[in-house]
């Protein structure tokens, strides 16, 4: 029953994301080391309780339907993203021949979910966040697809299951080290973190999430964490061999790699500065996208070798 395993993986990792998130914040902020671990362990549950106790607010003439749908869509997309990742040889919830393209569709629709979340509140700061994210999300998605196609080349397949299997001898991170780096940027963008958090950023007083409270905000935060988990699973599978390991391949290796990637991304999200959007767009189009082409070309050459 792959879906049960996937659910367990999702739940456990989301809690891990929440805990490591507050812990990393406290450590980087150099908070006095009193009860740091305890607070970090309790923080997610307390946040859930606070959100559930709180009323869901409304603004003047919001797009109610889309405001309610956006967090749900985001969460569902995270679920679909995780579902394409195999837990063990040939065991994935969605085992189709085109799961890489499906992952691409998940990336695209994520941009739409975030845009709708900012749009629907009918308030200026969330809307600016929504625009910024749409402008930034599309080029990042483009380069991530080049990078992913690079991983599909050695597997000669568009299926994530085959991509993991193709890394039996050597992981893709060794074949395409540039690819993993570029793909990790997508992870920050998909889960709205740190240097790629153009949607829910501090300079917009919370951005797209700035006007939501209560259960809707809880769902949104949950979806952000879940999307980070889905991304970590995808990155582990595409570049780090997924469930493969030195001894006894299995889901534990996948979980281990995910935890490492999640820690890495959460730490990066808290400790790297964000460029102003116009500057970031320039970097994306003129530096990172050509790098993605380079990565793809190099992957092709290595695959033909």
């Amino acid at each position: 029953m792959p879906w049960l395993g996937t659910l367990v993986l999702l739940g456990g990792s989301v809690v891990f994301v929440a805990v490591i998130d507050s812990l990393a914040f406290a450590l980087i902020a150099q908070r006095p080391p009193v009860n740091l671990m305890r607070d970090a362990l309790l923080a997610p549950w307390r946040a859930v309780a606070v959100s559930l106790v709180r009323q869901q607010n409304r603004t003047e003439h919001p797009d109610r339907l889309n405001w309610a749908l956006a967090p749900a869509l985001y969460l569902a997309l995270a679920g679909i993203g995780l579902a394409v990742v195999p837990l063990a040889p040939g065991v994935a919830v969605i085992d189709a021949p085109t799961t890489v393209v499906l992952w691409g569709a998940v990336e695209t629709l994520t941009v739409i979910a975030v845009f709708l979340h900012g749009w629907s509140a009918n308030a200026p700061l969330p809307l600016i966040g929504a625009y910024r994210y749409a402008a930034m999300g599309l080029p990042i998605m483009l380069l991530s697809m080049f990078v992913l196609i690079g991983t599909a080349l050695p597997a000669q397949s568009l299926s994530v299951v085959d991509i993991v299997a193709s890394q039996h001898d050597v992981w893709n991170v060794l074949r395409q080290p540039l690819g993993l780096f570029l793909f990790l940027l997508l992870g920050l963008s998909l889960s709205l973190r740190g240097p790629f958090d153009y949607a829910d950023s501090a300079d917009l007083a919370g951005g797209t999430a700035g006007e939501v409270s209560g259960a809707a905000r809880l769902t949104w935060q949950l979806a952000r964490h879940a999307m980070l988990v889905a991304f970590a699973a995808m990155a582990s599978s595409a570049f780090l061999g997924g469930y493969l390991g030195p001894v006894r391949a299995g889901p534990w290796w996948l979980a281990l790699k995910m935890l490492v990637l999640i820690t890495l991304l959460v730490g990066a999200g808290h400790s790297l500065a964000r460029l102003p959007p116009s500057r970031m767009l320039t970097v994306l189009w003129t530096v990172l996208l050509p790098l993605a082409f380079l990565d793809l070309a190099q992957a092709g050459v290595v695959a033909l070798w």
């Binding site: 393209v101 941009v111 709708l116 749009w119």
Partner: protein, 232 residues
């Protein structure tokens, strides 16, 4: 006797058609763009049912990007993108309805009257592999042509939409249409405006006045509107 596939097909078909219809019936431009996306997603899923996995997912993927851009353009150009002010953005509606119905009737009749060949896809055919081989094999030229066309499109798009043109700035001598007869001189544009909306600029600024005492959200605009320049 309705099979699961049939049920899924008709549900998706209903979603595709209803959302396609709502596209032109909703006030909010953003909703309208994403309703069209919903229609595309439903068609993409029907393609999956038709065992075209690559085409189906690729349609969803591509249309996601396209409709996101579409929504941005809608918000950019429309003066009332959220549809909070109901307004009539429809013309020659009766003619359009007749044309639409006729098109549907004609096509349906053609479908009905034609003896359609029945050679269904053989189960187990490696369709994605075949598509790849076709694209990069015998039909390489077609594929390359499509690629070159897309490149030409990119260049053309930049040329068309950028400000700097071959004969100076694209907006030099730009003339908005008139709101009222005898208003702004816009000689080539017939004075036939009646609905009170349409053009996006060049309207008398006098009506713009900030209102008092509103609470939270809404548009405000209290700087004097500058009439467009006349270079002509």
């Amino acid at each position: 006797m309705v099979s699961g596939t049939d049920l899924a097909f008709w549900t998706l078909a209903a979603i595709a058609i209803v959302s396609g219809w709502r596209v032109f019936r909703t006030d909010s431009m953003v909703r309208s763009a994403f309703l069209l996306l919903l229609s595309f997603i439903a068609v993409g899923l029907i393609m999956l049912l038709l065992r075209a996995p690559y085409l189906g997912v690729a349609t969803i993927f591509m249309m996601g990007v396209e409709m996101m851009v579409m929504a941005l353009f809608m918000v950019m150009f429309m003066m009332n993108p959220a549809g909070l002010n109901p307004m009539n953005m429809v013309h020659q509606e009766r003619f359009a309805i007749v044309a639409g119905v006729l098109a549907f009737a004609g096509l349906a009749a053609a479908v009905w009257l034609t003896d359609l060949p029945h050679h269904p896809l053989v189960a187990g055919r490696p369709v994605i592999r075949e598509l790849g081989m076709e694209l990069l094999g015998r039909s390489m030229l077609i594929f390359e042509t499509a690629g070159v066309t897309l490149l030409a499109t990119m260049i053309g798009t930049v040329v068309l939409s950028s400000r700097s043109g071959r004969f100076g700035p694209a907006d030099a001598g730009s003339l908005p249409p008139t709101m009222t007869p005898g208003g702004m001189p816009a000689g080539r544009i017939p004075k036939k405006r009646s609905g009170g909306h349409g053009g996006h600029g060049g309207h008398a600024p006098s009506a713009a006045s900030p209102t008092a005492g509103e609470p939270a959200h809404g548009h405000a605009n209290d700087h004097p509107h500058q009439p467009p320049e006349h270079h002509a």
